[in-house]
Subunit: 307 residues, 4 copies
């Protein structure tokens, strides 16, 4: 697989990490999940993201998961791997491991201690050195990291680091930020902008100039459809489909709970064998499972109406 | 108006504070807004909440706004007033002012410095003394305050303070928390639970035992409908209506931007004269206004389909 | 009194607000405290700072305290007043009140929600408009505010706002920052730099180019001595005195506890009648009082040795 | 070496990790540092603490450093190893590695996401399972972690986890907390309390019932002396020595800068070959080095005076 480029677009699904009931990695489910995502129209996959329970894996497990995903994908789409680490030595080690396995690039989120623009620019400059020439994705997710990265700061990072090829855009609110980044004066070159937040702003994000999504949702076909219809100028159809999925997408977007919802639905759909989260993740309450069942049934009904 | 009680239910709309283009308070719009909220079916109003731009008002202005709202409501529904302050002396002064004007109760959010359970319990115990026998609402909104209040902590606060009659529930995720609070073992007496978050989880919140909503949305009739149909057991109808409004509700729920969206729509609907926010609030971008127009048009279309 | 200027220097003592045992403001102690600070060599006073329990006062009380301080000072030194507020309307009102009373300038700390450089610059630009032509002090105290202000951001604020005449420097660590700000390339004009942190880095701060201190310590004569001896080039003498006071200064510098320590010592010295803090401030434990007594006794002994 | 017990006392020095100028680990300096700490009177060592640059090491490097320290100590004192990790899998792996090497116990700090008492109790309960029967130290350091752990929460953790044998006490202010924990009613059994904060409150901490220190300072002999003289009831002598070191200890205690100061002094004393920090650590400015030189010279002078 050649490397990730600034031309990335479509839907890079953030892959979950499937576990068996005993907490071990369920490699058969990894394979099925990869097939499912690609059949749904994913143009890329992202492994070991925050929603991939990355911090709960040992480095050996991280390597094994990435290896399995890459083997199953077999070059059909690029694989991005999250390598955010408490220190640069670990980031360097993990990056080398996964690039050797065949990843197309890595993704880096800032540590929560960063505050000033200069601190942020300096951090990514050093991180870029430690990942060493590998194409990388800048993860901009203030709700999770506590770090706010202004448009001018992104501009400096992009100018300083030729290997920064993509922004995983997850600022909230963030629509005007996409517009500002697409203003040709602001960045010295075009990078890919793939959006997060579980896809719940995807129609508007595409309208502002995003290239697609890099996020998770138990129905990735929603995101694929929105991007596809947007590219054909069929915005009403894109929004009709989006609206049908939105009640569940909104429910899945609850922080701290969303991954358990996603795994529950993926298991229900037969994609993964078990909805298990590794500890400290807790199972869903009966009431929450019931809420999901109602939402899924209504969603199926609405999709049939839409044809 | 008699005081707020633990029997509060329905929809307490968080009132915006209307400003003229020059930044002064627009009292005529206050009147029209009150009429609009009551015609939409509000069972109460909440003034000077976070979304009422309370910190941007002088104390004289706060008093004037509350006086005007109360005069216009003229006893038809209870008025709750946000009195969160950096110190207890200010909280005491503001509480006395608004209760003298005829408010039914006050609402208190915790300062962001609180961390441990004991600190939170102690803070509300002292606040209760300073508001002095007035019925009060505990505002539980971790996304804004940074303070997480566990079920057992709420239980201690309720047990300690007989005048704590209502929880403004805005934890996220927070559905299981409602369920836990409704578990008869957890609280020593029943208090009202009115939910926030712009109403975007209202069907599920009602299902868990909430008594209604205390939040804002430019279409308060959505919340009124959901509560009404839920009370009649017509959950499918409640959800059909909810789903029709959800694309816009989701858009309005963007933090930091949402109030400008709400005021834009309220001005568009003729409720307030101008969408102006007091500084440092910024006006909406042209792209955002266009997004709203699309969402409103689609919403109207969908509502006509639903009949 | 004419206004505060960029030539401010020496020791601006952060005044405590003395309360009687019943929590009311003790105006007689205000007078005695003013006399004490001026006799100790203060070149200015700062009222309603964070350590002045400002948020615990009503606006009427704030005005009364400032009026009393200014009356007692009677033009001998300039009075700076903290006007940090949750909103600009309140900041404007308080500023007008205290300048009418005869204050020389105001001090503004950033709200904890600010993160990016642009947000910080924009905030102070707007605040400067709202205080309206009054000389003001930029309070840079990340430990308390959570806001980190880089040298380049301070430079932008100083360039944008001619009335920003002084930095209350309280970053930690912050010595190199003073040096950077004194580098003639960094600021377009010289502003006063007065340092905080209870004076526990004062010798080093003076060495880096500070103009003095703006902070509190129950023995302000320590800070006056350090500044005086530094100005004469008697650094060893300055450090000898500093070292004698350091064990107590370090103890008083404990956050959250320090003000109670300071008031305890000021009461012990006969400066204020009671060590009372307004609630939620708690009284000192017996063990803490005992620690202070030991530290004061040893300090007196050491000072006698030094002569 | 047998395991760490609740009888731990004296001075557990937080070991730095020495690097060569090229950033590689300098094992010869590790040996010299171990000898130096033991000759200074350390009763234990703590490796891979926050001040040991632990997050900057790969897991192989972490293992190598711990192995070297343990080999050099050769059973003379117990070695505690910091194993705080983003996830339990990594914590488990690292714990197993270092216990196999011969460590006496591990130290665990809470992740910054924890807020409520229940969340904290639950986290340590799960962590205790993952470290699996190994004696462990609870690190209570709110300034660095953002997590505040109340006395009653510590009490619950100690009651739930028999292998929690020691508190690394670094709350600030925290003296009354030690007193509360020593109150026999509060804990169901006595655990060791070793204090942090660079030793700058050590005399008072010992007075409240601490068993010693677990922290770093370039002159560990200061802490050893304070503990020793305190145990003999020679508090004046303890304080005389403490006061002589305090000006430098205070300087070294600046967060973010302190480790560079410590390594500079350790290199100056010949303990480690180079003062190098791994990136992103920056070298000291010339002015800071000059400040240190003045402080060291004055300290030596004062110690000679004291005899």
């Amino acid at each position: 697989m050649s490397g990730l480029t600034a031309g990335a677009n479509g839907v890079y699904v953030i892959a979950v990490t499937p576990f068996s009931g005993d907490g071990s990695i369920d490699m058969k489910s990894v394979d099925r999940m990869v097939d499912f995502y690609l059949e749904a129209g994913a143009t890329g996959l992202t492994a070991l993201g925050m929603m991939g329970e990355a911090p709960k894996l040992t480095i050996e497990e991280s390597q094994a998961v990435v290896r399995r995903i890459i083997a199953r994908v077999s070059g059909r789409v690029p694989i991005v791997v999250g390598v955010s680490s408490p220190g640069f030595a670990q980031m360097h080690t993990l990056t080398k491991l996964v690039m050797d396995e065949g990843a197309a690039g890595v993704m880096i989120a800032p540590p929560s201690s960063l505050r000033t623009d200069d601190q942020i620019v300096s951090y990514f400059g050093q991180a870029a050195e430690f990942v060493g020439g590998v194409p990388w994705v800048l993860q901009d997710f203030p709700l999770a990291t506590g770090v706010q990265i202004s448009v001018s700061t992104i501009s400096r990072i992009v100018a300083d680091n030729p290997n920064c090829v993509c922004l995983k855009h997850e600022d909230w609110p963030g629509l005007d930020k996409i517009g500002a980044l697409r203003d040709t004066e602001k960045l010295n070159r075009r990078i890919a902008i793939l959006c997060g937040n579980g896809g719940i702003y995807l129609p508007e994000e595409m309208g502002r100039g995003a290239d697609g999504a890099m996020t998770g949702f138990a129905y990735p076909e929603m995101m694929v459809s929105v991007v596809k219809h947007h590219s054909k100028g069929e915005m009403d159809r894109a929004r009709d489909l989006f609206d049908a999925y939105l009640p569940l997408a909104r429910f899945e977007q609850q922080p701290g709970l969303g991954l358990a919802v996603r795994k529950y639905v993926l298991a229900k759909r037969g994609v993964i064998a078990e909805p298990t989260l590794r500890r400290p993740g807790a199972p869903l309450s009966a009431s929450t499972r019931q809420d999901i069942e109602v939402l899924v049934a209504r969603q199926e009904h609405r999709l049939r109406e839409l044809g």
